[in-house]
Symmetry: C2
Subunit: 723 residues, 2 copies
């Protein structure tokens, strides 16, 4: 990634299309730049000799600028960028609209713009951008109505209008920024580029974004998971509910479209997701201003009981806990507080508390090892000034190095105290719930940061055999596969029942003889979707009946669906399903984030309750384990209702192996193992369905050479010794 | 209920304990009263001749006041109230603390206070109250630091400190009130009294409350469900999560303690529950200021796409819908908007929109029959003044009579526009989510108001037989009953399997002969909790084996638990459980709200997923039906996974009949029918457990006379002809 500091801290900015025409974008950009910029501003427009008392240049070639802002009409914009590239400019902001968003020739124009930027290695923002803004050099290269105060947060937005709204709003609240970029159409630089740049930027303490989509999800996750180890990233990703309406692609109806992918992707990237504008900036303030808590216990110190209860509720609603004080803490509180005070959490210092009593209690609480953070709350009383309390809280926060939030429950009388707290980075709200949510954001970030980023395990698998299974289907022109593809799972070390797909009664008898007890037999055909409906499944077949059953299944299939391609009959050991729990593991492919892996309990839990969880592949062991934790019905795997706990490790490994399979083969568009039967003895894939894209199967021919003799059936033996 | 207007609009207020001592409560109350009160203020204190230039009286007897405020020390307070009562005062506010909240003799003192109030029919607020306040007559009879602005909301609080916080905060925002009361210890007047009074008060448009508990839940529900037909009631009920920690009483672990009762009670009362202080006042403003929507469709009109998406998400998160416009609306929008505008919802009038274009779009949207409400959003632009937009929005709102909310997404530049909107009662926030939540509160209130309050059906039941079953157990000194009490269900018309509890092998054979096919036999003993564990249950017993099985069950029971009382053996028809769905219906009794009824799917759905729902008894048909709708796994009852839908009406009726049973018999503390087997043919109670309080069983002896011959077993025949 190139160094985007050229965009935010240039020395000489050219405005191509500058003008002084009232109401024009060119005038607005010039005015904003001239209002404060530390460097030089160079207007470019062949129509003028001078503009704003500055000499006006005819062409960007004469401007000798290191940042070029383009506001010319769309037809001229690409040429301007090319000229800029030709004379070595490497940072360009295209404010001009009329590109991809306009459709038609705009789309081609945007492609051309991207090509020119690539040719000259230009860091290009836009087109269709409000511009960029940085307080590093008091740069305001936007056509918006106001600039930004300096601060320690950088902000990107896919909505230019939202940037103007935020600037106006932040100015009133004294919120400051390092850099702001209106991303526009993202022909070149996208959200990942800015996350990466700000992650390395010592000035930026928190990265904020308003996004409606992420262009390259896989890259974003790669970049952001590095950045979020050091710098918190908080995003509003909107279009959540619209996205949810896109129907699930998987036939189980379980992967709920791309919103699930965004949720999984942002979590994997370590990003904190805000669900409203208020949360976005509340989280930004607290993350920039407060240390991370070293524990989840919260102490509440209040001078009024009712608000203390509200704060307790808010803690209960969050992922934080109300801290349990040590005996020493309780004793110490008794020493510093009057007899009618409450020395247990929430601490009630009583309405007549002067600031000294408040602070004595706060000191004791913050010294308790079970306390990771504290909320200080005060209603208006005659014995306490909000200002004094704020000063003292700031001091105590610094001393103890633990994060604090305040609830000063009043109106105008709290204003200067709030300012004092804000300057010290301590969040202060009337509503206790909001103060607690701010502390909870710190906990979330600590958790995200501490999450180990381990590379997923690479299991030793038989990749060539898996490729052969896919290649055979591709050669037959098939895109939907069923049990005939069980070998795919076996090749990746996922246990399957003993059995095989055979194409003769004799072979069926041979396979059945290798199995103890009754067998299950199923017709195998890509064209017959509902095998049971046509009598294509026989359960509990005795050895003696295998031959007849074979004939019977085949003749039923021929009768009911004469045009179906019959691949044979699967002969499989009969599993005792009552001894285990039916689960489902599946994958599909998201256009932005690539392969997703789904896990859930089978049957009613998927179909009615949609109790499933999704991760981005590849899935590491910790992530696979966390999928089990996510499921509401997880206790059923863990010995609820008198069952023995299942072998969780085998489930975790199956999820990882499946993840490796779909990561290795982009040709697998969707795949469901349903059911994956899980018991105390392990996990077994009982059935599989998948959809493939033969065009994605690279090297098919090479692998095709390794095909087994029975070319029309795939080996599905238990031992895995065949290939 | 007496008319509480004497509390809020008195003509002459005596302050008993008045003083001018700096920092005293008596001085604060005097100062507040003298600052604005329309009527006369009379200080009472034998130590002074005059106070604040007013003649000071020796006793409340001389004061001739119609409201008495008591601030004397606790030991004197009861006598003062008695004196006030003796001279005909009927409204008293006891600010003095040191009563129930102090424990010890304070508890007795509070009882005495209540007795005096009852004797003289005094409407008494407190003790331990901040006081009362009303803008009707500019009365501020509190010792808080500030008064209230006039408005149309009345507010009660169980936290006095929270009243001071709210007053300070509301003053800054220009929020006004009718009456405010700090409820204190509620020795006499409680939340129900004020809800009732404000419900009849033409000045009060919305009732707000901060409550930590409700003293008499049953009365509250009765009162509030009347009031909320005309006047919205919004409450913060805190202590939610603490309450949740109180362990469930029912052995199924399903009724989650009194928080479930509050939730059910407040819903039954038609109360809107706010979960934070912000919500409390946001809902108050919109309910006071805006008409109710006649439909759930919301139109969004915005001058920026990004914020439009945020509002769409917020609508998706709410119970509102994004309105689908009619073809006429879309056409009309095309006429008034430029070509690049979005004429579908959310309507984007484009960043260069002047106010006229905005309003043209709003007019069209509000004329659409599918639009019940609208959100108007604007980012700062050069073509639009927030002030003009606000003026025009107010005008349009009045014209169309549909509720509106605004998002003016800016800072200081929106201030005067926000004021304009606030004066017209139109909520305005930066955050689209908050604006949409305000509209959603209107929808919730409309729904609550429209919900029919029907009296629960009274089924024709055999109440005497039920009483006899309970009486027999009570006579035996038992408090925990099992299958021997199936007759209780049958008496209330709840279907049970054919069968009977018998006490001889011969009787067992007789009962088995009346049943077709195999039978289920179970030992019946109040002392054996886990019958299966000692081999006390036999399933699938052939007719020929009934006699032996009887002996076998009894001898096992004698062997494993020699001291257990054996009531006999239950012989019951064997039901095909696979033909139905196992559900659970249960009840327990909440100390505040009385009997609760629980419904859920059985087995894993209760034990692992806790997928249950609770209502206050008595449950009307509509409510019982809504319990089915509440369950996540409800689709399993309605034909998911290829099953036939069950007979929902029979489930609904069973819930109602059980509700009638526990309402009729306060002696039933807990009762669970588990499982209630539900199939397309109906509902059958397979097993029952209950706990009774014999002391609550009135008329037991009278009913005892009707006991059946086999005094030690309860009839559990199918026909119900015995009693």
């Amino acid at each position: 990634m190139s160094d985007l500091s050229r965009l935010f801290a240039p020395e000489r900015v050219a405005v191509v299309g500058a003008t002084d025409r009232e109401g024009s974008v060119g005038r607005a950009v010039m005015t904003n730049l001239l209002s404060a910029f530390d460097g030089e501003v160079v207007p470019v427009n062949p129509t003028y000799e001078t503009l704003f008392d500055l000499p006006c240049h005819d062409s960007v070639r004469d401007a000798e600028a290191d940042l070029v802002v383009v506001v010319v009409p769309p037809k001229l914009a690409v040429d301007v960028v090319r000229e800029a590239g030709e004379c070595g400019v490497s940072a360009v902001v295209v404010i001009t609209a009329g590109f991809g968003e306009a459709g038609g020739e705009g789309v081609a124009r945007e492609r051309e713009l991207a090509a020119v930027a690539a040719e000259y290695d230009i860091d290009l923002v836009g087109p269709n951008s409000l511009g960029v803004l940085s307080t590093r050099s008091d740069l305001n290269a936007t056509f918006g109505p106001r600039g930004a105060l300096p601060g320690d947060v950088s902000f990107m937005s896919q909505s230019g209008a939202f940037v103007t709204a935020v600037l106006d709003w932040a100015a009133e609240r004294g919120l400051g920024f390092v850099d702001i970029v209106s991303l526009g159409n993202e022909a070149v630089l996208d959200e990942s580029a800015f996350v990466e740049f700000w992650g390395d930027d010592p000035e930026t303490e928190v990265v904020l974004g308003y996004l409606e989509g992420i262009k390259d999800g896989e890259r974003f996750v790669r970049v952001a998971s590095e950045v979020t180890r050091e710098t918190p990233v908080v995003l509003v990703k909107s279009g959540r509910t619209e996205a949810g309406a896109h129907a699930a692609a998987s036939h189980t109806g379980s992967i709920a479209g791309s919103e699930a992918a965004y949720e999984a992707g942002l979590e994997k990237a370590g990003v904190i997701r805000a669900h409203s504008v208020e949360e976005l900036f509340d989280y930004a303030s607290v993350l920039a201003g407060q240390p991370l808590p070293d524990g989840d216990g919260v102490a509440v110190v209040t001078n009024a009981g009712g608000p203390g209860v509200m704060a307790t509720d808010a803690v209960g609603d969050s992922d934080l806990d109300l801290a349990s004080f040590t005996g020493e803490t309780v004793e110490a509180l008794r020493d510093v507080l009057p007899a009618n005070a409450n020395v247990y959490n929430p601490i009630d210092v009583i309405g007549d508390a002067p600031v000294e009593r408040f602070l004595a209690a706060l000191d004791v609480a913050l010294s308790d090892p079970n306390v990771g953070a504290a909320v200080v709350m005060s209603c208006p009383t005659q014995t306490l000034s909000f200002d004094d309390l704020a000063d003292a809280v700031v001091e105590r926060g610094e001393e103890h190095g633990k994060p604090l939030a305040a609830c000063l429950m009043g109106g105008a009388s709290t204003e200067s105290a709030e300012r004092t707290l804000a300057e010290a980075g301590i969040p202060c709200y009337f509503d206790p719930a909001r103060a607690v949510r701010a502390l909870d954001a710190l906990r979330t970030y600590r958790e995200r940061r501490e999450t180990e980023r381990v590379e997923p395990e690479e299991f030793d698998v038989d990749r060539e055999r898996a490729r052969a299974v896919l290649a055979r289907a591709a050669d037959r022109g098939e895109t939907r596969l069923g049990v005939e593809a069980m070998g795919l799972l076996e090749a990746y070390g996922i246990p399957i029942p003993t059995g095989e797909v055979v194409d003769s009664p004799a072979a069926a008898e041979r396979v059945a003889r290798e199995i103890t007890g009754e067998v299950v037999m199923k017709i195998v055909s890509p064209d017959i979707l509902h095998k049971s409906d046509i009598g294509g499944v026989a359960v509990g077949v005795e050895q003696a009946d295998v031959r007849d059953t074979y004939e019977d299944l085949v003749s039923r299939a021929r009768r009911y669906q004469p045009d179906a391609t019959l691949l044979g009959v699967q002969v499989q050991e009969r599993l005792d399903t009552s001894a285990g729990v039916e689960t489902i593991v599946g994958t599909n492919r998201d256009p932005q984030f690539g392969p997703l892996v789904l896990f859930g309990l089978g049957g009613v839990f998927v179909e009615v309750l949609q109790d499933t969880t999704v991760r981005l592949a590849p899935v590491a062991e910790r992530e696979a384990q966390s999928m089990l934790d996510d499921i509401q019905a997880a206790p059923l795997l863990r010995g609820a209702r008198g069952r023995d706990p299942v072998d969780e490790a085998s489930v975790v490994e199956t999820v990882q192996r499946l993840s490796q399979l779909v990561t290795d083969f982009p040709a697998i568009l969707e795949l469901d193992v349903n059911p994956l039967l899980v018991s105390p003895e392990g996990a077994t894939a009982v059935d599989v369905r998948l959809t493939i894209d033969p065009d994605e199967l690279e090297g098919t021919d090479a692998a095709g050479g390794g095909r087994t003799a029975d070319a029309d059936t795939d080996a599905a033996t238990h031992g895995g010794e065949r290939r």
